[in-house]
């Protein structure tokens, strides 16, 4: 395993751990709030947790593109960039055209 690959794996680990920690903390706190009746605040906090959860895999893809670019591994820059475009496109298509799943 090359040094760049080990570094990428470490950075991806940091991104994923941060995403899990932040979203879990928000979701747990929100769930507790909702049990004690603070419905509006609970919904807002849980919403943040859900959004962080959804953003984490996307952030992992973005970080990979940056790291592959820094390592001048253009094949993988292109491949991961395609993944990002596909993710963006599926969200846009679905939300704009509101197709049935």
């Amino acid at each position: 395993m090359t040094r760049e690959a080990a570094r990428l794996e470490r950075i991806i680990g940091v991104v994923l751990r941060t995403g899990v920690a932040v979203s879990s903390a928000c979701l747990a706190f929100g769930l507790l709030l909702s049990l004690f009746g603070a419905a509006d605040l609970a919904a807002a906090v849980m919403n943040v947790g859900v959004v962080v959860l959804l953003v984490t895999p996307v952030a992992r893809v973005v970080v990979s593109i940056v790291e592959y670019a820094a390592a001048r591994d253009w094949t993988f820059v292109v491949l991961t960039a395609i993944v990002l475009v596909e993710l963006a496109a599926s969200a846009v298509f679905a939300l704009v055209f509101n197709k049935r799943l």
């Binding site: 395993m1 690959a5 080990a6 990428l8 794996e9 470490r10 991806i12 680990g13 994923l16 751990r17 995403g19 899990v20 979203s23 879990s24 979701l27 747990a28 929100g30 769930l31 909702s34 049990l35 609970a42 919904a43 849980m46 919403n47 947790g49 859900v50 959860l53 959804l54 984490t56 895999p57 996307v58 992992r60 893809v61 990979s64 993988f76 491949l79 991961t80 395609i82 993944v83 596909e86 993710l87 496109a89 599926s90 969200a91 298509f93 679905a94 939300l95 055209f97 509101n98 197709k99 049935r100 799943l101």
Partner: protein, 277 residues
């Protein structure tokens, strides 16, 4: 929107724990269990169940991969290549839904699951590992330390187009069914593409976060993702995936293959039940 009571939240927390445990063991999101449980067992509408399931798939993928990053079990390069196919599959998932009736798709899926399960059982004693440490893993292969054989195992990736096709199909059915698609990728990567079960599971777990995100965003945008229920399920996943990872490194490959085959048979039954209605 379903009414969220503490007992419902706890039930969904427990179901999330089971999904997370299976995710850590087999590299699948566990949506295969969660969707029928929430839909048929708890009585949530299919889109609501699928949305919660996709949220847990992301959580499983993220926490399992975070726990494993740095241990070289995840084949990140292979994962990135296959993600191109799986994300393309997700993108075209809506198109597939327009042209193929859901019931046809589900029955087809059931048949495929049974065939793959039988192949898994037939290959119980065959291993994809090369124990020679000097062996060349090739462009996309890898090597990792395995507890079971007590050494570093090396593997080469065979039949990349088959792996790409399986990833495409996995992405294609993901948003439609509310699953991550690991249940399709892991057996195919193991049976046909030369990848050891543990590496296939870790790489699949890494990829399903991206697969599920495409679908989850759609449900979230439509307001079908209930935050409180997703919260309960996702927290369950954290507990379950931690437990699964502790157990997974010690479990034998043979046992994991039998568990995977059992999951596939369960999936087939679920598909026939849904497809028949």
């Amino acid at each position: 929107m379903p009414v969220v009571t503490p007992s419902l939240a706890f039930l969904i927390f427990a179901a999330g724990a089971v999904s997370g445990g299976l995710g850590a063991l087999l590299g699948i999101g566990g949506g295969v269990f969660l969707v029928p449980f929430l839909n048929l067992g708890v009585g949530l509408a299919y889109p609501v169940a699928a949305a919660i399931s996709l949220a847990t798939v992301i959580a499983t993928s993220t926490s399992v991969s975070a726990g494993r990053a740095g241990k070289q079990l995840i084949n990140i390069r292979l994962g990135m290549v296959l993600e191109v196919a799986t994300a393309a599959g997700s993108l075209l998932g809506g198109v597939t839904a327009q042209f193929v009736a859901a019931s046809v798709l589900q029955k087809l899926f059931g048949v495929v699951a049974i065939v793959v399960a039988l192949i898994m059982v037939g290959r119980l004693n065959r291993r994809n590992v090369i124990l020679d440490p000097a062996a060349d893993p090739g462009l996309l292969g890898g090597r990792f330390h395995e507890h079971e054989s007590g050494g570093t195992v090396t593997y080469q990736v065979k039949r990349l187009p088959v792996a790409l096709l399986a990833s495409f199909v996995a992405g294609n059915v993901s948003s439609l069914l509310g699953i991550g698609g690991g249940v399709i990728k892991v057996p195919v990567l193991n049976a046909w593409c030369g990848i050891p079960l543990r590496a296939a599971a870790a790489t699949s777990a890494f990829m399903i976060g991206v697969t599920a995100t495409a679908g989850a965003v759609i449900y979230y945008g439509r307001g079908e993702l209930t935050p409180a229920l997703a919260a309960a399920a996702v927290l369950g996943v954290q507990v379950g995936s931690w437990g699964g990872m502790q157990f997974g490194a010690r479990a034998s490959t043979k046992w994991l293959k039998l568990l995977m085959a059992a999951v596939l048979f369960g999936l087939a039954i679920m598909m026939f039940v849904r497809g028949g209605r």
